[in-house]
Symmetry: C2
Subunit: 666 residues, 2 copies
Amino acid sequence: MVRARDTYMEQPDGRVRVVIEGVKPEIDSGRFPAKSVVGEKVEIEADIFTDGHDAITAVLLYRKEGHSKWTETPMELVNNDRWEGSFLATELGHYLYTVTAWVDRFKSWRQDFQKRVEAGQEDLNINLLTGANLIAGASGQASKADSRTMQEWVRTLESAQVSQLEKIELATSEKVAKLMDKYSDRRLAVTYPRELQILVDRERALFSTWYEMFPRSCANEPGRHGTFKDCEARLPYISEMGFDLLYFPPIHPIGRTLRKGKNNAIKATADAPGTPWAIGAEEGGHKAIHPQLGTLGDFHHLVKKAKEYGIEIALDIAFQCSPDHPYVKEHPEWFVLRPDGTIQYAENPPKKYQDIYPLNFESEHWRELWEELKSVFLFWIEQGVCIFRVDNPHTKPFCFWEWCIAEVKREYPDIVFFAEAFTRPKVMHQLAKLGFTQSYTYFTWRNTKQELTQYLTELTQSEMREFYRPNFWPNTPDILTEYLQTGGRPAFMARLVLAATLAASYGIYGPAYELCVNTPREHGSEEYLNSEKYEIKHWDINRADSLKDFIASVNKIRRENPALQSNQNLWFHAVDNEELICYSKHTDDLSNIIMIVVNLNPRNTQSGWVHLPLEPWGLDAQQPYQVHDLLSGARHLWHGADNFIELNPGKCPAHIFRVQKSIRGE
Amino acid sequence: MVRARDTYMEQPDGRVRVVIEGVKPEIDSGRFPAKSVVGEKVEIEADIFTDGHDAITAVLLYRKEGHSKWTETPMELVNNDRWEGSFLATELGHYLYTVTAWVDRFKSWRQDFQKRVEAGQEDLNINLLTGANLIAGASGQASKADSRTMQEWVRTLESAQVSQLEKIELATSEKVAKLMDKYSDRRLAVTYPRELQILVDRERALFSTWYEMFPRSCANEPGRHGTFKDCEARLPYISEMGFDLLYFPPIHPIGRTLRKGKNNAIKATADAPGTPWAIGAEEGGHKAIHPQLGTLGDFHHLVKKAKEYGIEIALDIAFQCSPDHPYVKEHPEWFVLRPDGTIQYAENPPKKYQDIYPLNFESEHWRELWEELKSVFLFWIEQGVCIFRVDNPHTKPFCFWEWCIAEVKREYPDIVFFAEAFTRPKVMHQLAKLGFTQSYTYFTWRNTKQELTQYLTELTQSEMREFYRPNFWPNTPDILTEYLQTGGRPAFMARLVLAATLAASYGIYGPAYELCVNTPREHGSEEYLNSEKYEIKHWDINRADSLKDFIASVNKIRRENPALQSNQNLWFHAVDNEELICYSKHTDDLSNIIMIVVNLNPRNTQSGWVHLPLEPWGLDAQQPYQVHDLLSGARHLWHGADNFIELNPGKCPAHIFRVQKSIRGE
């Protein structure tokens, strides 16, 4: 056990006067890294101060893990002793950073001296000599050329022949300040006692558009088991809708013992295909492919074909076994044995899941189990998969995930792990902190303006913004929400726009989504009736009422507008109608401002006045400005901060406006 | 430099499944201790959770620094994975604490088993055997007697002769749970990686009532320099007002060189007494007494006499020197030398303070300087002083204070250090974190309901509550606020009640306060006209309009009502008038509830409806309850949460009600 006090750098010298604290980001005292993506500006803040009124110089130090040399960049005082610095994350992997600061004697002297001059103090000779002494001291540390320059300055400041006015001009000049900065005396500098970390992922870790689909339901003709070849045929459709990730439920052989039937029936009919999450059969386990989907070669072909469409294949990894999984025979020590010698099936008393055997992470052979599970990821990475959606990670130990993800990313830093945990907040946060790249969220059940505003404020403004990358899903194969069940097509449109514009990453489970499938198994249930979790479906993706064109428009808007590709820039705006929600995102340079209004009531037209922040957007409140509805194509000239909005959900429940200065002639 | 990751306890075993984080209090990752006082309950919280649904047992570990053995006390789940535990601080000094938790197999088994029983599952034999195995395992760790008992239980649970009903009763019995708790398997326990600290002070560190007075102005007859003997004569007066701390500006010899005159005049008249903060003359420095005040013997006598009145003497320690201070000759190396060989006087350019030499903490001889300054505190401690008000600590290095206070308190843990820093928030916070027992605050300038509510909420609800002990001063010799200048006697009464009831510690600078002295040196200045900082005053403390009786009442109320002796229990209540502020404090057991209403407008009568939290106070909303105005003595029976208040500032601008159940007959 380590006493925090002992780890704090002992002050070796009582003259070290600067305090550095409150560094941000710093997750759990540096226990976990904050997150960024390649090309993003990493912003670091800290409280930095000293006693008295002396001036401070502070620098941010950063380096790529593995490099021993720090790069240094200046920090600036923002206000209230808060300083800020930043660097650009250019490579995948971990960066380290910390902060160094010191009392800057020359800067202090200069700042005081300028006040004396401004106050018209007359005899400044002693003060000029003090300045000269500081320059003389620094010249001892300088390069030959610089030293000569500085000694010349000292001679001027000490000369009886030079007028005080000339000396003042020299002493307060920028050239002197610049050279004194270069040789600032750091002997009494203090460095923050912790090196903190930023984990830099690839861009898709932040901005991604997911489409979930059951491969076995992809056959063109009803009644046939879909294959990877059928999935290939579906690629143009998925690509046209604008998705860049195609994610499959488990593709492994499905267990036969105690197989579940249609609608999760305990007794399955002989021809029941089973659920893909009952993983493992005599054909193999987590590294095998369900024979009816095709071969490993077919899978490779699909991955390659998808890449041509700019689509990556994501796999669902669910660490659980059917009773027929090869592990059961080969490694019974990885399961819990009951007193009668049988293997313990999954339970959440009083519920029993006899068709699923959970792995026992408290096994004495946990090391071998960990290695094997890691090898599952490595196997699929070798098959071309770079993105994993992990099923129920919160039912496996946190320390396993931390180890496993770190191990995989050490070799393959571009891998994305998406945590499918819908559970208590602190558990979900922990999974994100320890390494999951993206996380499911409670968005699925946040429907009202108040719920959305509160939840999104937490995600984008609290410390969560540093480590929790939300991925918004309006539906999943497990979740058909009441809002979708009862709101009809407008509800599907509204929730899609919300997911796609509130979060940089979102996804849908299709074709159920674009076809607005909304019948639950029973009243009060969030399960789909006749869910394809238990049966093979045939979807008519060409139905005239499909949302596919609408989805394509929304995804095109996301691709073309960088403001929508980040989370932290979200800003809610006032609307005087509780059923209308209004928010915006903009790029740092204001070159791209997107403002969204959604009617949350799928049944009735709603109208109201939105109030917009013209000045922060760089718009002249006295001039008209243009709002261009990227969904409808309509362009309007608006005047002033307050504008009237009306949305008929039967037509389209949302506006996605691009806001810009009015250009003459438009 | 220490990498935080390296200091985090490495998981030696991948089966350790519990996570402990978010421990509170934890100041700056454990860099600083939180604060408590003897007799206070120290409450510790933490987020504790594991994967899946297993049950956790968590304990709080604590020990007095220097003791090697932890004491253990159970923690309880509050909600949302937040756990809580507490211990009683009984001794002065540092306590250490941390948290240990583990997945409790038997508790998990028992909780699942009870669900099975409740759900009416029939064949529980296997589950009973699993329970029996857990008991058998624990019996191996048990005492002989306990082991025998447990083996007997195992036999019962395994016996074919015992009915399932009997077995269920045994397995779920409290006696089994209790013994299994005692021998709970901690092999996979995790301990929070940091040992955190609580600094326990004496009670007066939290609850104290200060009276500041210039000893030289204490003579009974005008024109004479007051002495410690005169101070003794003033003790009954101070005691009757209810103060338990009498605090003096510096009592050391006053410099003659460049002595300041009346109203801080640069040229002093020959008989000017000088300011006590120009410390040091040929008679001595920080360890000497100004001859006109008396001898060290007189001081000892005063300290002893004060103690008889329950009053402690607090000294102002100002580490700065007049040009005549012995240090200047004996230790010129402790000062900054100017290029012309003279010693640098204090400056805040363009202002100059030629009568004050600041100490140079960047001296190469800083170690000797530190030791000497520490010895000043030790000297006065040996003379019986236990409380120091430290002048301008924010102009001396933080690391000096941290060292000095720790050194002094190691030997004398009952010493109180009160930081006189009116500066930027983070600097004030740092001084409190590093060891100052109490701190001045911005209360002095917080006048409106919004200002007071916001500031007090920060002090009592943010992390500041853990380390920042506020001491509220409505005036000081340096600060006569505009509110007091313009508000007359009602303003002095209102500010006194606010200070005395919002904060557990408060003080006034008298007799200027009780005599409602409110003339500034000039318009816009917060300096007193003819301030006794620069001259000797004679106060007529028996003036009929003195607030002394009012102050005595308020301080008596503070003494008699434990609710007013703590800060964290402050609670604001709604009043429908911006000029009225209403708040309460109550003891944990609700035996003492004090509710205060103050009219913040010193000119006009204000009235309004207050809204009170009857249910949280344990009052029946259907029954009348009693409010007893401890200031006026009036008792009222109130009904319901909303009650009408009217306060005429000309009479008394405040109510201090004791709220209690109505007792029959009153």
